[in-house]
Assembly symmetry: none
Homo-oligomer: 205 residues x 2
DNA sequence: GGAAAGTGCTTACGGAACGCCAACAGGATA
DNA sequence: TATCCTGTTGGCGTTCCGTAAGCACTTTCC
């Protein structure tokens, strides 16, 4: 039976390997556990090795290896893409750690009921930093508030991605974010909201 | 298990072959890794050959050859956040279905080994549609190619997100994407690449 | 109260990882 | 043939990292 700190150690190692693809240094484990002694940390590692939960390539840097404990498990479909967060990057400073946020879960960020993804075609939202080829995550809903970026159908046709502005006189304005396009003001009845933008994704080749 | 520099070496060779269509000289690898010793470089190459990742035509110039070996890893598909894709949205049309793509997997898009996430602070990449508050996914690596967006340390300090331009005279230029900032040209040795941007995420409140 | 277990710290040692340099060998080239 | 280019090998040093041992403090339980 593992002690509390032994369990912490194992958990940390598992997360580290999952996030970084290689095993941590003893010093990194110590840091992750919030203790400053590599010696103590090493004792925990040794306990895990003795318990048959870890394997060690003696003498090698980053030589730890997880033992697959029970791979007969039905592999539950975890919906989470977890990426480690290193910190904030800014001009003029080193990368700054973000307190209380060591990883981000794309599932948390973008998943949800009634959501779907659209691929953006065209540059009408370029001033809002949405480029052609980007993906936008849409929360499917029929209403939207002033200032939200919406997918809108005009007269049941003409689907566009625009910023929605609601005017006092009952009309709405669909405002592109590109000076080469003109805003369009229409009676609210003619505009059918399909959903609002809740996220945006881009990959680089 | 590869050490960090062995991994760097392999990555450099892969990129070099992809870019130039032939394998690099030992001296070129050394240069790419930022070390001046061909002997040290050769040791890394030897390690990769021993690991079965490279093949060598002994005695021949540019005799390195990559071994294709991605059949030994069953590639655990644990990580998947799947969102349905409705289609393309464009000005002037209904939402257009995208053939052969009914859903997208955020795991496929953004996961990978040696990746992490940074929160962007500041508007220096605004013309590349990366805003303050966005998240960028960084592929951790020590080398980058001309035109890639990189996380770079200047003189071991001053971490920035910039477009990397490699000049013919051995210097590199860190180019911000904001006309209010000035590009900086430096000797390549002073610039330490931390990784390249492979993705970008944004959520809307 | 005292033993045992759990947790933490410091110090020390040896090897791994990494880097440099010099020297040599063999193919390529003039 | 002589020279240059490139790959290869070995030695040396520095720094980083894993391992181990000893000491101290707290909690738990008999």
């Amino acid at each position: 039976m593992l002690t509390e700190r032994q369990q912490d150690t194992l958990t940390f190692i598992q997360h580290y390997i999952r996030d970084h693809g290689r095993s941590p240094l003893v010093a990194e484990i110590a840091d992750g556990l919030g203790i400053s002694s590599q010696g103590t940390t090493h004792r925990y590692i040794q306990a895990l090795v003795n318990a048959g939960l870890l394997e060690r390539n003696v003498g090698r840097t980053r030589g730890l290896q997880l033992i697959n404990q029970h791979d007969d498990q039905p592999e539950q479909p975890i919906l989470s893409v977890i990426l480690p967060v290193m910190g904030k990057i800014a001009a003029g400073r080193l990368i700054e750690a973000i307190p209380d946020e060591s990883e981000i879960d794309l599932g948390d960020m973008f998943s949800g009921s009634n959501r779907f993804v659209l691929k953006v075609n065209g540059d009408s939202m370029i001033d809002k930093a949405i480029l052609s080829g980007d993906w936008v995550v849409i929360q499917s809903q029929q209403t939207a508030r002033h200032g939200e970026i919406v997918v809108a159908l005009v007269d049941g046709y003409d689907a566009t991605l625009k910023t929605l502005l609601t005017n006092d006189d009952g009309t709405v304005t669909l405002m592109p974010a590109n000076e080469n396009y003109e805003p369009v003001t229409l009676a609210a009845e003619r505009v059918s909201i399909q959903g609002i933008v809740v996220g945006q994704l881009r990959t680089y080749p």
